[in-house]
């Protein structure tokens, strides 16, 4: 008895040691892989910079985004206004920093909301065959209408407000997510390990939430980053068309919209917000691809 206990204790010690060793090793490996992953590295840097611009930019910029100084209108980039001014004499850098808040928060909320509801719909459709037809036909119907058109119609019906833009864009992107999740989940539902869990007596919600859902995350992350980027573009397009964030609130699309009339006199009004939009889309796509490679356990050797 005594010997057995001693042995038990030894085994446990060994186990704890192995656990510690493994954890340390893993941390090192994870960090190294994170750095080596170009997509996450560059995409991450771009997104961190843009987020910093959105969060802290408005604190540091010296001007008020709404204050019009008629004498300073359409000033070229220079010492006084770093990136120039717009047609009302508002500082462009200031407006772009505030616009970053609007654009990024629209993008983030849309991608989070669309992923949540899309995942819900996709998982339900994949697991319950009776729901599949109903849900997927609704999604097909929504996807038949071009995204921007549907968004314009929804915003026009709901009224141009930031919340309504987010809602409209969420409705536009949910079917995409639902499809991706459903197609991934249908494959996984038929795997033997799902059957094994069912045979063990697990409840349905447990199977769906803990076993099927995590396996759909890889394609979902990629989709989420694309939606984030797409939502920024679409919001810009909506604002550009006058159906998005209402003036005088700045968003990158709004500034573009204001700039299009003066494109020959004041190129900076179109170029700088355009660069930000392109940069954020590029960064998000890099990040999405990087994360997908990163979380795949098969590459974690």
């Amino acid at each position: 008895m005594h010997v057995a206990q001693e042995q038990d204790k030894l085994l446990k010690d060994e186990f704890i040691l192995a656990k510690k060793r493994l954890k340390r090793h893993q941390k090192k490996l994870l960090f190294r892989r994170l750095i080596r992953n170009r997509g996450i590295l560059f995409g991450g840097i771009i997104m961190v910079l843009l987020t910093l611009l959105a969060v802290f930019g408005p604190i540091f910029v010296p001007y008020d985004p709404y204050e019009m100084v008629v004498t300073d209108r359409l000033m070229a980039p220079g010492a006084q206004h770093f990136l120039g001014t717009d047609n009302f004499g508002r500082d462009l850098l200031t407006r772009m920093a505030y616009g970053a808040r609007v654009s990024l928060s629209v993008g983030l909320s849309v991608s989070l909301l669309a992923c949540f509801f899309g995942m819900l719909i996709g998982l339900l459709a994949s697991y319950f065959k009776a729901l599949d037809n109903v849900l997927m036909r609704i999604c097909d119907g929504l996807m038949a209408i071009p995204g921007v058109l549907l968004a314009i119609a929804l915003v026009a019906a709901l009224g141009p407000k930031m919340e309504n833009v987010i809602l409209a864009l969420t409705i536009v992107f949910v079917p995409n997510v639902a499809r991706v999740v459903r197609s991934a989940a249908i494959v996984i539902r038929e795997e033997t390990y799902i059957e094994a869990i069912r045979a063990q007596g697990a409840k349905t919600w447990r199977i769906i939430v803990l076993h099927i859902a995590p396996n759909t995350v890889a394609p979902l992350i990629v989709q989420a980053s694309f939606i984030f980027a797409d939502a920024i573009i679409t919001e810009a397009a909506l604002s550009f068309l006058g159906a998005g964030i209402p003036a005088p609130d700045p968003s990158w699309g709004n500034i573009l919209h204001d700039g299009k009339v003066f494109i020959f006199n004041a190129w900076w009004m179109t170029v700088f917000p355009g660069i930000l939009i392109v940069l954020s889309v590029f960064g998000l796509n890099l990040l999405g691809d990087g994360i997908r490679d990163y979380i795949d356990p098969h590459t974690s050797k």
């Binding site: 085994l11 446990k12 060994e14 186990f15 192995a18 656990k19 060793r21 493994l22 954890k23 893993q26 795997e191 033997t192 390990y193 059957e195 094994a196 869990i197 069912r198 045979a199 063990q200 007596g201 697990a202 409840k203 447990r206 076993h211 995590p214 396996n215 356990p297 098969h298 974690s300």
Partner: protein, 329 residues
């Protein structure tokens, strides 16, 4: 063999199990509804502590039998009485309770483990599902079972893709064992493994049976493996049970022509020994449209006129030896 002396206690009794899969016919309006008779009127009994082997060629319905008992597919007809309760009539909580006591080991060790879960959490799953013990004791229990099936403790944090087939099958067995089941349905647990690994796993299964007093329903298509592990063997052909007997009887004195053919196909260690081989002609008929009378009559070397029209019944011809064949009427 032990069971012969002591009183046999029935653990599971399968009666008249049928599983028909509907098949959509051709034609504009779906045509006539047809059924694949995967399992057609199969009955057998499992006694506590024994191993019942189920053999037959691919597509004869042996896996479907196992899966239906687990309720992974719904039966078309029949009963499976487990400790005086019909499993097929259970639902919800009762079914979950039954599933705690009946576990399954799957054929494919590669797809039967969730690739995103570490081995530890895969093994903990049954404990959480059935709320067995305290959370903080789970790790200990998992470590305990991992040791018993011959895994190392630092495998706890590994992912399935880091293991070989044999190790994965050990994990699969550990997962089945951890909830302390009474009955384990082994669905071809060794057929995906190398021969040298097969014997390791079979020996492990036998060791675990002794230690935990388990009952096995051992499904396989390799009669030499089944012979090694089973106390009794059932032979299936085209969804029907054609012969059931204690292992020694079945191997020593096979009665059904199909069993004889199966046994004569087993390779001998010494190839120079001359023996009579019974080679079956033709293909296994489609279960969509099984032959009339005895399902085996299209390939039987001893076929009589009667076999083509009259379905043979399962008769007891010797001690615990059942056969469904007109030769023994």
């Amino acid at each position: 063999m032990l069971q012969a002396e002591t009183e046999k206690k029935v653990l599971l009794e399968v009666q008249g199990l049928k599983k028909y899969f509907p098949v959509k016919g051709l034609g504009m309006f779906g045509g006539t509804q047809q059924y694949v008779k995967a399992v057609d009127d199969v009955s057998f009994t499992l006694y506590e502590g024994e191993t019942f082997g189920l053999v037959g060629e691919s597509g004869c319905g042996k896996s479907t039998t196992g899966r239906t008992i687990m309720r992974l597919t719904e039966p078309t007809e029949g009963k499976a009485v487990y400790r005086n309760v019909d499993i097929f009539g259970q639902s919800g909580k009762q079914l979950r309770k039954t599933r705690e006591e009946i576990q399954m080991v799957f054929q494919d060790p590669y797809s039967s483990l969730n690739p995103r879960k570490r081995i530890g959490s895969t093994l903990q799953e049954p404990l959480i599902v059935h709320k067995l013990g305290q959370r903080k004791d789970h790790t200990e229990r998992v470590m305990d079972i991992m040791q018993k099936v011959g895994l190392q403790l630092d495998h706890f944090y590994r992912f399935p893709h880091e293991f070989s087939g044999g190790q994965r099958q050990r994990i699969g067995l550990a997962r089945a064992l951890i909830a302390n089941p009474k009955l384990i349905i082994c669905d071809e647990p060794v057929s995906a493994l190398d021969v040298s690994i097969q014997s390791q796993i079979v020996n492990l299964l036998q060791r675990m049976q002794k230690e935990f007093n388990l009952t096995y329903l051992f499904i396989a298509h390799d009669i030499s493996v089944v012979r090694h592990i089973s106390d009794r063997i059932g032979v299936m052909y085209l969804g029907k049970m054609v012969e059931t007997a204690p292992t020694d009887n079945l191997i020593g004195k096979p009665l059904h022509p199909y069993t004889q053919a199966l046994l004569s196909a087993v390779p001998m260690p010494n190839p120079r020994i001359k023996r009579e081989r019974i080679t079956l002609k033709g293909e296994i008929p489609s279960p969509l449209n099984p032959p009339s009378g005895c399902v085996f009559h299209t390939r039987c070397p001893f076929v009589m006129d009667k076999c083509k029209t009259v379905q043979p019944l399962n008769k007891e011809v010797g001690q615990d030896h059942f056969v469904a064949c007109h030769l023994y009427d």
